[in-house]
Symmetry: C2
Subunit: 464 residues, 2 copies
C-alpha cells in the first residue's frame, strides 16, 4: 500500500511536467481564402468536410484577423509577432515583394522558427515563402531546418511570349504560361513548378515530416500556394467542385488538411499537437469567379475593411482545445507567435515591441482573449482601429487600382457586433467612442518606430 501511494504521488509530481510537454505546432496558412469560403463559415457550394470536422473537434473563431491586407506584410507579422511596419515589410507603393525585389525579412527579426528551434524544435517550412527570395532571406536563414516550396507568389513569373497578357491569362490559366520556381532548401529543383500538383506534393512533404519527426517536437509552417490565382488543382480535384476551379482548389486544400490531421492521429500525436488553420488575407475579389468570398463582410484582399483582414481561424488540439466551440473572442495571427513561444517554454523577445498576445487561456477554454484592440494598416499607414466591438476608419481606399486614400474626420465608425458588414456609419451618434478610438490610434502611432523599408529595394538591372 505504501508502495502504491508512493507511485501515485510520483505520478502526481510528474503530472505538471507532462502537461508542460512542448507540443508540436502546425500552422496551416492558405493564400487569399475568403472568410466565407468554407462550409463551416457558410459557403453554399464549396465542400470542406475535413476542415468542418476540424472545427467540430476544435475551436472556430469568428473574429480572427490576419495582420495585413496583403501577402508579404501578413506573413512577416505571423512569423515575427509584430505589425508589418516594425520589420519594414510593407510599403505604400509596391505592397509586396516581387521577383526584382532586393529586400526581405531582416536578419534582426526573431522568427517563430528561430525561437522554437532554440528550444529544440525541428522546424519546417512547406509552401509559399514570400519574405525575400535572395539567398540571405530564404527560410533556412530564418530558423527553418528545411524548406520545400515557392520563394514568392505563383503569379509573379511569366514565361516570356507565352499566353495572353494580363488578366486573361488568369482566367484561362495554362501551366506553360507560368515560370515560378520550386525550391528545396536553397536550390531550385523545378522550373516552372508544376502548379497542378503543388498542393498534393506539399501535403506529401508534410505527411512525411510528421511521420519522421515524431520523437522530437516540431514546428511545421505549411503555407499553401493556393487559392491564390492562377488556380491549379490536381486531376483528383479538377472539375469536381460545384464552385468551379476555385472550389476545386479549396476542396483540395480541405483534403490536405484532412491528410495532415489523419497522420497526426495515426502517429498518436494528436494529444500533443496544436494545429491552427488560417489565411494571409481576404479574397481577391478582382478575379471574379477565380477569387473567393468574404461572406457578409465588406470588401476583400487589399482593403482594411473587414473582408480584407478577417479570415477563417480554427484551432485543433484534442484534449486541450475544447471541441465544438465557436468563439467571438478577438485574436490575430500575431497572437499565434506569442502563444506558440509560450507553449514551447520560450521567452518572448524583450528587446523590441511585440504585438501578439498569449491566447492559451482562450484556446484551452479557461479564459478570454487578452486582445481587445486591432490595428489595420494598409502599407505603412494606420487606416483603421478596432477596440471592442467598435471600428473607426480614419482612412479608406479602394483595394486595388488608382483610387487615392480618402481621409475621414470624424472617422467612419461601425459597431462590428451589430453590423459586421460595416454598412451603417454611426460616428455622429457615438462621438465619445470616436474620441476613445482616436486616442488609442494617436498613442499607438506615437509609439510606432518603423523598421527600414524592405519592399522598395530593387535588384539593379545589371544583376537581374
Amino acid at each position: 500500500m505504501r508502495l502504491f501511494l508512493s507511485v501515485a504521488s510520483l505520478l502526481l509530481l510528474l503530472a505538471p511536467t507532462v502537461a508542460a510537454e512542448q507540443p508540436n505546432i502546425v500552422i496551416i496558412f492558405s493564400d487569399d481564402l475568403g472568410y466565407g469560403d468554407l462550409g463551416c463559415y457558410g459557403h453554399p457550394t464549396i465542400k470542406t468536410p475535413n476542415i468542418d470536422k476540424m472545427a467540430a473537434e476544435g475551436m472556430k473563431f469568428t473574429t480572427f484577423y490576419s495582420a495585413a491586407e496583403v501577402c508579404t506584410p501578413s506573413r512577416a507579422a505571423l512569423l515575427t509577432g509584430r505589425l508589418p511596419p516594425r520589420s519594414g515589410m510593407c510599403s505604400d507603393t509596391r505592397r509586396v515583394l516581387f521577383p526584382d525585389s532586393a529586400g526581405g525579412l531582416p536578419a534582426s527579426e526573431v522568427t517563430l522558427a528561430e525561437a522554437l528551434k532554440a528550444k529544440g524544435y525541428i522546424t519546417a517550412c512547406i509552401g509559399k515563402w514570400h519574405l525575400g527570395h535572395l539567398p540571405e532571406y530564404l527560410p533556412m536563414k530564418h530558423g527553418f531546418d528545411s524548406f520545400y516550396g515557392l520563394p514568392y507568389v505563383n503569379d509573379m513569373d511569366r514565361v516570356p511570349d507565352k499566353g495572353p497578357k494580363g488578366r486573361p491569362a488568369f482566367f484561362d490559366p495554362k501551366i506553360e504560361y507560368w515560370n515560378v520556381p520550386l525550391m528545396r532548401g536553397e536550390k531550385i529543383i523545378e522550373r516552372p513548378a508544376d502548379q497542378h500538383t503543388l498542393t498534393k506534393r506539399y501535403t506529401q512533404e508534410a505527411v512525411k515530416l510528421i511521420k519522421e519527426k515524431k520523437d522530437t517536437p516540431f514546428f511545421l509552417y505549411f503555407a499553401h500556394t493556393m487559392p491564390h490565382v492562377p488556380l491549379f488543382a490536381s486531376k483528383d480535384f479538377a472539375g469536381k467542385s460545384a464552385r468551379g476551379i476555385y472550389g476545386d482548389v479549396v476542396e483540395e486544400i480541405d483534403w490536405s488538411v484532412g491528410e495532415v490531421l489523419k497522420t497526426i492521429r495515426e502517429e498518436k500525436l494528436d494529444k500533443k499537437t496544436l494545429v491552427f488553420f488560417t489565411d494571409d488575407n481576404g479574397p481577391w475579389l478582382l478575379f471574379n469567379e477565380h477569387g473567393g468570398s468574404a461572406g457578409l463582410l465588406r470588401d476583400g484582399k487589399g482593403s482594411t475593411w473587414e473582408g480584407g483582414m478577417r479570415v477563417p481561424g480554427i484551432a485543433w488540439w484534442p484534449g486541450t482545445v475544447p471541441a465544438g466551440v465557436t468563439t467571438q473572442e478577438m485574436a490575430s495571427t500575431m497572437d499565434l507567435y506569442v502563444t506558440a513561444l509560450k507553449l514551447a517554454g520560450a521567452d518572448v523577445p524583450a528587446d523590441r515591441p511585440i504585438d501578439g498576445f498569449d491566447i492559451t487561456p482562450l484556446l484551452t477554454g479557461k479564459g478570454k482573449s487578452p486582445r481587445d484592440t486591432m490595428f489595420f494598416y494598409r502599407g505603412t499607414r494606420l487606416f483603421a482601429v478596432r477596440h471592442g466591438p467598435w471600428k473607426a476608419h480614419f482612412i479608406t481606399q479602394v483595394a486595388y487600382g488608382k483610387g487615392a486614400p480618402t481621409p475621414h474626420d470624424p472617422p467612419l465608425l461601425y459597431h462590428l457586433g451589430r453590423d459586421p458588414g460595416e454598412k451603417f456609419d454611426v460616428a455622429k451618434d457615438n462621438m465619445e467612442v470616436v474620441k476613445q478610438l482616436k486616442e488609442i490610434a494617436t498613442k499607438h502611432s506615437k509609439d510606432m518606430k518603423p523598421g527600414e523599408p524592405q519592399l522598395e529595394k530593387r535588384i539593379p538591372p545589371e544583376k537581374k
Copy 2:
C-alpha cells in the same frame, strides 16, 4: 423452435408496418431570417448553438428555397404545396394581406393540416398565420385543431396616436405602439399582444402540445412571429447578443428550437418525428441593423435575387435523417408538403397541379432530390427560373419602393454553383443555356392557371 421461428417471421412481417409508422411532423418557420443569420450558416456574432446542434445531428441544406419573396404567398405555398399564383395568394400591388384585407386562403385549397388530419393526425398551428384573418380563413377552417398566435404580421396594427410615424417606430419600438391581437382558436385573447413574450409563450404551447399528444401522430406548424420587425425579446434574451436586438431575437428562437428538440427527446419521440427548420423569405434589408443578412447571397426579402428566397433549411429525425450531412441538393418549402403527405401515407391531391416533390429519398440519405428547377415569382409574375446550377432573370425589380420592373432580353444569366452571389452575368457566353431556360419558362407559364386573386380584396370601409 418452430414457435421461435413463427415469432421471428411474424416480426419480419410486422417490420414494414413499423417502418411505415406515421411520423410526427414539426415545421418550425421563422419570419424574415436571412440565409446568413445562423452560426451554422456563418454568422459571426449571432450565437445559435441549438440550431447548430440540430444541423450537426441532421441535414443542412445550402440550396433550400421558400416559394416566394414575401410572407403571405410563401406561407400559402408551404401549406398547399403550390406556387402562390395557383391559390391567388399573391399580388403585384399589395403583395401580402393587411388588416383591411377581405381575402384569404380559399377553402378549395387542401392544406397540409387538412390532409394530415384526414390521416388521423392531431394538427396545431402556433404562431403567425397571415393567410386571412376573417373568420372563414382562420387556421381552424383550414384543418388545424388548434391555433395560438397572431392572425397577421406584428407590425400591421398601430395604436392610433402612439409613437413616431413610420420607420422611427421600428427603430425604437415600444410595446405600446403596437396593437396586434393574440388569438386562441377563433377568439382574441390579448390585445395588444405582449410581443416581448411571444417567442417564449409560443414555445411553452409547443412543448405542452408535444407532451400531451405523444400517443397520436401530430403535425405542428410552429410559425414564429420573429425576427420580423418590430423586434421584441423576453427579458432572458434582451440585451444579451453581440448582434443587438436582432441577435437577441434570433438567439431566443434558437433557444426555442432547443426546447422543442429537448422535449421531443425527453418524450422519446425523436425516432418518430421529422423536424424541419426554415424561413418564409430573406432578410428585410430595409431595416438596417433590425434586418438580417443573406450572407454572400444577393439582396433580401421582396426580391427574386437569391437573398430573397434562399433560406436556411435543416432536417432533423434521428435514426432516419443521417447526421452531420450538408447537402447542396435543391429543395423548397413546397416539397415539405408532398414529403409530409407521403410520410403520413396520405395521397397527394390529384385534381390540381402540385409544385412540390417528395424529397424522402434525399432526407433519408438514399438518393438525390427530384427537384432540378425552381420558379421565382414576384407577385403574379414569373421573374426568374433556376434549372440545375443556372438561373435566368427575365425581370428584376428593386425589392421595395418605386423602382419599376426591368425586363431583360436576353435574360441575365448566373451560374449559382460558381457564382452563388449572382455577380457575373454570363448570358452572352451561354446562349444555349438561355434558350433552354426560356423554353422551361414558356412551357411553365403556358400551363399556369392562376386562381382568383385574394390579396386585392378589401373590407368595405363601413364594415371596418
